[in-house]
């Protein structure tokens, strides 16, 4: 049996064991609910936004109706107008909640009654309409035709020219950066811990020794990482699919094409980050003497992930700062920071090969160190080991001298 088929066998067992467990179903369900909820709930809230009900008190106010409608449309505010015969009745309706605001307009006064406060946009709409009516009335009284006064009243348009305009899909990209970092952080911590627990279970239940009689440590290690990684990827795929379907059904956000093209980059980052962390978590799991110690030995790894995730908010605020660039080259932080920088579009072309190189070298080094710690610590039955102790535990290679065939025969 060759090496890869043993690895595949080990991976297959990991996947079967996980799929049979109740935990994965619960976790998948929770992830799907969070994703679907995150997408549909803001849409539902926005969809249910009702127009502001404005009562127009008296003939003057009621004459403003067409202007109000036009201004509101221009300001993208929703208002519903109704006529009310007198002020007392209007105020009563505002108090009881049948109206949100009641507008009364005098020759040089205007008043709006509200229950507690007035939405600034609605206030601006009302103000502009009242101002416009007042202006027309004043011009008419001064016998100046509106047509004559209009050029003087037309404001000079001030054109704002952005020298470094943000990408048109900036909001979507920021959301994508946060979502990618969050997903990366949660899934790496979750599956990393799963790897550490799996290793610790094999060690503390002494299954490792039976396994190592048939399987080499590196086959066992890579099989475990592969199995748990594929399970995790499957779980993420289900959550992502649920998200896409929910988005299509709820028409919540129009995801621009420029964000979709980031997905392959995210996938590569996930695979690289997972490989880096999974091997480190596996080695950590092999250090324990009791299952309960897993939490303790994996704490530093969890902290790296958390710092990497939190840094994404700094990256969003200062995408071009030098320190952001420096930090994004640190391998333990790369897994979360890099996808965010890619999403924000603030990554220079020369950085990508450098990132790939650094990540490749760190994965290689991590696998080497982790394999050694894992192989040394897995059959060690004493107290919990430190990383240093586990690295030093190594035995020298056997020096068997094969006797000549004639001697053996």
């Amino acid at each position: 049996m060759n090496r890869t088929s043993l690895t595949r066998l080990v991976a297959g067992r990991e996947i079967t064991e996980r799929l049979q467990g109740r935990l994965i179903r619960i976790m998948t369900l929770i992830t799907v609910l969070v994703v679907v909820g995150g997408i549909t709930i803001p849409g539902l809230i926005k969809g249910s936004s009702t127009p502001t009900r404005v009562g127009l008190v008296g003939a003057e106010a009621q004459a403003l109706a067409p202007t109000l409608e036009r201004t509101a449309t221009a300001a993208k505010a929703k208002i519903a107008l109704s006529n009310v015969s007198d002020g007392a009745l209007a105020r009563q309706q505002v108090t009881s909640g049948r109206l949100d605001a009641a507008l009364s307009v005098g020759p040089s006064t205007a008043r709006v009654d509200v229950k507690q406060s007035l939405d600034p946009t609605i206030r601006a709409v009302l103000q502009a309409s009242v101002d416009s009516a007042h202006l027309r009335r004043a011009l008419a009284q001064a016998h100046i035709s509106v047509e004559k006064a209009l050029p003087a009243l037309t404001p000079v348009p001030l054109q704002a020219v952005a020298l470094k305009p943000p990408p048109p899909d900036r909001t979507a990209r920021t959301i994508a950066a946060i979502a990618a970092a969050l997903l990366m952080y949660i899934s790496l911590a979750l599956y990393g811990t799963a790897v550490a627990n799996g290793v610790a279970q094999e060690k503390t239940s002494r299954t490792a020794e039976v396994l190592l009689a048939a399987v080499r440590p590196n086959q066992l290690l890579s099989g475990k990482v592969l199995g748990i990684g594929l399970t995790g990827l499957g779980q993420l795929a289900i959550a992502a699919l649920a998200g896409v379907i929910a988005n299509a059904v709820a028409h919540s956000t129009n995801i621009p094409g420029s964000v979709w093209v980031l997905l392959p980059a995210f996938l590569v980052c996930f695979l690289a980050g997972f490989t880096l962390y999974a091997f480190a978590y596996a080695a950590a799991g092999a250090l324990v003497s009791r299952q309960e110690e897993v939490q303790f030995v994996t704490l530093p790894l969890g902290l790296f992930l958390l710092v990497g995730y939190l840094l994404v908010y700094a990256v969003i605020a200062h995408p071009d700062a030098t320190w952001v660039k420096v930090v994004s080259f640190l391998p333990p932080l790369m897994a979360t920071v890099l996808p965010a920088r890619i999403a924000l579009g603030h990554i220079a072309p020369w950085e990508i090969p450098l990132d790939v190189l650094i990540m490749g070298v760190s994965i290689w080094a991590t696998i080497r160190i982790a394999s050694r710690v894992y192989a040394n610590a897995l059959i060690y039955s004493g107290a919990r080991l430190s990383w240093k102790q586990a690295l030093r535990l190594t035995d020298s290679a056997p020096t068997v001298k094969e006797p000549s065939r004639s001697a053996a025969a």
Partner: protein, 298 residues
């Protein structure tokens, strides 16, 4: 001399300052059952781990069929470690079949073999149960099934009888006899010396990382001074001045003499007859327990 089966050659291994193995060497031929005996910490488990490739010895090596063991060879070995361990949440059939697959069986053959061995070891009704639901003794049977499922050419069993009830001891002994008859080399360790005596033809005694005795029980006995019991209807004084023999004990059953190798028993018999009528004259057969005590105390 190489056995052509398992040959352990001059194993040395240290754990820090502790010398675990200090030149252990012995062999197990095909079809042979060899008992590895020694006190705790003598080096039995480290030797077995070295055979299975779990411990890499500092010096020396292990050969199979006349060549240094490779991973492919180990797939034809069956192992039961001292500290038992299997997946607690895995069902018996899946678990045993999984280990058969790790040893190169395809899925169908692995399932068949797992079923046969679980059935054989009295767990045929429980193939769908999780390991954790089994009693300690039954878990031990599953562990044994895992060691046997792929029909190994070499069985390495570290304390296989520990914690088994008499019935299970009998059925395990039966399995070992059958495997050996089919040509499997069997190496097992045990503290239950009467069991080792019953099952093994050959015994290897290790002490402080060295093999201090290796041979059949008869060969080991020959290396010790013989014990001769003589009952004469007279006071035991007749035996005090014997050449080449001294009194170990004297009681109503006569005197127990320790006879040096090379001493002719006939001279002792003649001395006894001279003292009075001889009622009993015979060598005591030393059991493994006596042999072991004697060897280790030297």
């Amino acid at each position: 001399m190489m056995t052509g089966g398992l040959d352990v050659l001059d194993l040395h291994h240290r754990f820090g300052d502790v010398v675990a193995l200090d030149g252990v060497a012995f062999g197990v031929g095909a079809g042979e059952i060899v008992g590895l005996v020694g006190r705790n910490g003598a080096g039995k488990t480290t030797t077995m781990r070295a055979v299975m490739g779990i411990v890499r010895p500092d010096r020396g090596g292990v050969m199979w069929s006349g060549h240094a063991i490779e991973q492919g060879d180990r797939l034809r070995f069956g192992y039961m470690p001292e500290e038992r361990g299997l997946y607690p949440q895995m069902r018996l059939l899946e678990q045993v079949a999984y280990f058969a697959r790790l040893h190169g069986f395809d899925q169908a053959a692995a399932d068949d073999a797992a079923r046969i061995w679980l059935d054989r070891l009295g767990l045929g009704e429980r193939t769908g149960d999780k390991l954790v639901a089994l009693s300690h003794g039954n878990q031990q049977r599953v562990q044994l099934a895992v060691a046997l499922v792929h029909g190994p050419e070499l069985l390495v069993l570290d304390e296989p009888f520990a914690g088994l009830d008499p019935e299970a001891v009998d059925s395990l002994s039966q399995v070992l006899f059958e495997r050996a008859a089919a040509g499997t080399a069997v190496l097992f360790s045990s503290h239950q010396l009467e069991l080792v005596e019953r099952i093994c033809r050959r015994v290897v005694i290790v002490e402080a990382g060295r093999v201090i005795a290796d041979g059949t029980l008869a060969e080991l006995r020959a290396r010790l001074p013989a014990e001769l019991r003589v009952k004469v209807d007279a006071a035991p004084d007749w035996a005090r001045s014997l050449e080449g023999a001294r009194i170990q004990s004297a009681d109503d059953d006569g005197v127990l003499l320790v006879v040096d190798p090379g001493t002719d028993p006939q001279t002792i018999l003649r001395a006894a007859q001279a003292a009075g009528p001889v009622e009993h004259f015979g060598f005591e057969t030393a059991g493994l327990v006596d042999l072991y005590r004697e060897m280790v105390s030297r």
